[in-house]
Symmetry: D2
Subunit: 233 residues, 4 copies
C-alpha cells in the first residue's frame, strides 16, 4: 500500500499539460509506482482535477493541484476539499505561482485540510514568503522563485542560498514543517543539490510530465534520492 | 447512444453538493439516463470536476460546471477545455452566478469551445446581460436572477416577463441561440411555465441534486416536458 | 463651461503613467482645455484616481479609469461611483483590457452610473464583445484589440474592418450607443481614419500621456477632428 | 509638522463611507489634527483614494486603504505606490479583510513600500495569519477577526487572548513589527484594553467615520491613550 508518503519526497505536478492528460497521466502514475518500489523512494503525483480519481485509484500517492476555499454546497464550478478527498487524494498543493491564493484563504484551507486528513504543500515565491507561510502549519512549504519555474535552472543550484536559508528559518519558527525545493528541477544532480541543502524533497513538473520517457526520468531522480539516503543523508 | 442532447433540455447542475458527489453523482447520472429514455426527453448532468470522467462514461450527456480561460500548458490548478473534452464532456456551463467570468473570457472560451466541438451554456443574471451574452454566440444562454437561485421560487413563475423578454430579444439579435430558464426551478409546474414562455429548457440544481429521490424528481420534470411536447409545444 | 462633452470625442487615458501623475496630470488637463477651446473639439481626461479631484477642478471633462461594483459603505480600498461623482468626474471607463470586469458587474455599474448622472465608456476587445456590451446600454463602447494597445498601430488603420463592423452592428442593436476607436491611436491620421469608419471618437493613452509635448500632440489630434467636421463629417 | 507617527497609534479607516467622503473626510482630518495636538497622541487617517491628496495636505498623517501590486505604467484603473506617495500618503494599509491580497503580492508591496519610504500596515484575520504576515516585515500588522469588524464588539475585550498571543508571537519572530488591534474598537475602554494587552495602537473605522461627532469620539480615544501613557504604559 504505497499511498503514504515518506521523505525525501519527489512530488510531480502534471499542471495542465496536454502531454500528461488522461491516459498519459495514468501511464506516468503507474511508472511512478514502479520506480518508487524499485528504489524505495516516495513519489507522488498531482494530476489535473479530471484525472484525480483515476490516478489515485492506481495507488500512487495523489495530490490535487489546487482547491478553492469553500465548503461543500452551492459553489458551482469550484473544487472542494471534500471532493478531492472523495476522489482519493491524500493532499493538496496550494498557492502555486500559477494559482495564487489570498493569505487568509491559505490559512483557512490548511486548517480545513487537517480535519480532512489531507496533507498540504504551500508554495511561496521568496524566502520571506515561504517562511511566513510555514507559520500557517502546512505539512510542507515549497520554495519556487517564479523566474526559475520551467526555466530548467534549478533553484537548488542557481540560488542555493535561498533554499538553505528557507530550511534554516523554517526550522526555527515551525520545525515540523518540511521544505521542498521547487523550481527548475530537471535532473538527479538538481535533486542531490536540494537534499544537501536540507530540503525534504522536490516539487517538479515539466522535466517529468513532458519527458520523452517519464519513467526513465523518474528513475534518474529516484536514484539521486536513493544515493543521498544511502550515504547517510 | 444518448450523448447528444435535444430540446427542450433539462440540465442538472450538481454544484459542489456533498449529496451529489462521487458515487451519488453516478447514481443520479444513471437515473437521468433511465428517465431520459423512458420519456424521450433530453437530460444532461453537470457534475463536480472530479466526477466528470465517471459521469460521462455512463453515457449521460455531461457538462463541466466551469472552465478556466487558458489553453493546455503551464497552468497549475486550472480546468481547461482540453481536459473536460478528454474526460468526455459534451459541453460547459460558463459564467454561473457562483463562478462569474470576465466578459472577454466568456467570448474567448465560447470561441475555443466551438473548435473543440463543445456546447456552451452561458449564464446571465438579468435580461440585458443574457441578451448581451447571446451575441457571443454560445449554444445556449441561461437567465438566472441571483436572488431566485436556490430560493424555490421559479423565475418562470415569479418573473415570467423576464423570461419572455429574454426569449423575444435573443430571437431578434441571435436567433440560433437557445434560452434556458435557470433559477428556482423545482417542479414540473415550473418547467411547464418555462416552456410556455418560449424557453428551450431549464437549468436547475438543488431540486434534483438534494432530492430524497432524484429519480422521482427527474421523472416529474421529464413528464412536464413530455406533456408540453405532446400538446404541440 | 467645458464640462460637457460632444462628439467626436478625444478621450485621453493617463493610465498609471509616472509621466502623467500629479502636477503633470494637471498640466495635461490644462493643455486639453486650451486645445479644446481653440479647435472647438471635445477632449476629456481620465487621470489616476488620486488626481481625479484636482483634474476635474480645472474644468476639463474628467473620467475615472475604473470603478468597483460596490455601493458606498464598508468597502475598504474600493473606488465607488459615489466617490468619483463627488470628486467631479462626469463619467467612467469600464472593463479596460488592463482592468477587466465580470460581465454582470459591467451591467450593474452601467445601471448605477445612469442614476448618478455619470457617462460610461465600456471597453471590449473584439467586435463580438463590443457589440454584446453595447446591449448593456452604456453611453459609449470602445473597441480595443489588446494586441494593438500601446503598439503604435492604430486599430482604425490596421483593422478598419473591425471598427466598421462594430459601428454597423452596434447601430443595429443599440443605436444610441456611440462607438470609440481605442487601440494604437497616435496621430491625426489615425483619428481621421477612425472617424471615416463611423467612430464617434477615439480613446488613447501613451501618445498623449507620454508625449514630449502633450499640448502639441493634442493639437494634432484635435485638428484632425476639426477637419473631419468641417468637411461635413 | 505632525506628518510623522508615533506609538501608540490611532489609525482611522474611512472605508467607502458616504459619511466620510470629500468635505466630510477633510473635516475629520482637521479634527484628528486638533485632537492629536491637544492630547499629544498620534492619529492617522486612511481616506478614500479620491480624497488622499486633500487629506494629506491638511498635514494629518495619511494612509492609503489599499494599493495594487503594480509599478507605474500601463495599468489602467490601478492604484500604485508611486501615486499614493505623490499624493502625500506616508503609508498604506494592505490585505484588509474587505480587500484581500495574495500572499506573494503582500510581500512584493511591503518590499516596494520600503523603497518608497512608505509605512505598511498589513491586516490578518487570525493569530496565525497575523504572525505569518509579520515575517514579511511590514511596519505593523493589525489583527482583525472578520466576525468582529463593524460589530461594535472589540477584539481587545471579546478575544483578549488573540491579541496577547499575536503580540507575544510577533515579538518572538519579528520583534520590530508593531501590532495593532483592529476589529470592533469603538470606545476609550476598548483602546485601553488593547494597549494593556501589548498592542501598539488601534485600527478602527465606523466608530469615528460614522460618529455624529467624530471630534468628540477621537477625543475619547486619544484620552484613553494619553491615560495609558501617563500611567507608565
Amino acid at each position: 500500500m504505497p499511498r503514504k508518503i515518506s521523505y525525501p519526497l519527489i512530488l510531480v505536478n502534471l499542471k495542465s499539460y496536454r502531454e500528461a492528460l488522461g491516459s498519459r497521466a495514468l501511464a506516468i502514475a503507474r511508472k511512478a509506482l514502479r520506480v518508487s518500489e524499485e528504489y524505495g523512494v516516495s513519489i507522488a503525483i498531482a494530476p489535473q482535477i479530471v484525472d484525480l480519481r483515476d490516478v489515485a485509484s492506481t495507488g500512487v500517492p495523489t495530490f490535487a493541484q489546487h482547491v478553492d476555499p469553500v465548503p461543500p454546497g452551492s459553489w458551482t464550478g469550484h473544487v472542494t476539499l471534500e471532493a478531492v478527498k472523495d476522489a482519493g487524494a491524500i493532499g493538496v498543493i496550494l498557492n502555486h505561482s500559477e494559482r495564487r491564493l489570498r493569505v487568509s484563504d491559505v490559512g483557512r484551507i490548511v486548517d480545513m485540510s487537517r480535519r480532512y486528513g489531507l496533507l498540504t504543500v504551500v508554495c511561496g515565491d521568496m524566502v520571506d514568503t515561504a517562511v511566513a507561510l510555514s507559520l500557517l502549519k502546512p505539512t510542507m512549504v515549497a520554495i519556487e522563485p517564479p523566474e526559475l519555474i520551467g526555466s530548467g535552472k534549478a533553484v537548488s543550484r542557481v540560488s542555493p542560498h535561498s533554499v538553505a536559508e528557507t530550511v534554516r528559518r523554517v526550522r526555527r519558527v515551525a520545525a515540523e514543517v518540511k521544505v521542498l525545493c521547487g523550481a527548475g528541477i530537471t535532473s538527479g544532480e538538481d535533486v542531490r543539490a536540494a537534499l544537501k541543502l536540507g530540503a525534504s524533497g522536490v516539487l517538479l513538473a515539466s522535466a517529468v510530465a513532458k519527458a520523452k520517457d517519464p519513467g526513465a526520468k523518474l528513475g534518474e531522480l529516484a536514484r539521486a534520492v536513493r544515493d543521498f539516503i544511502d550515504r547517510g543523508g
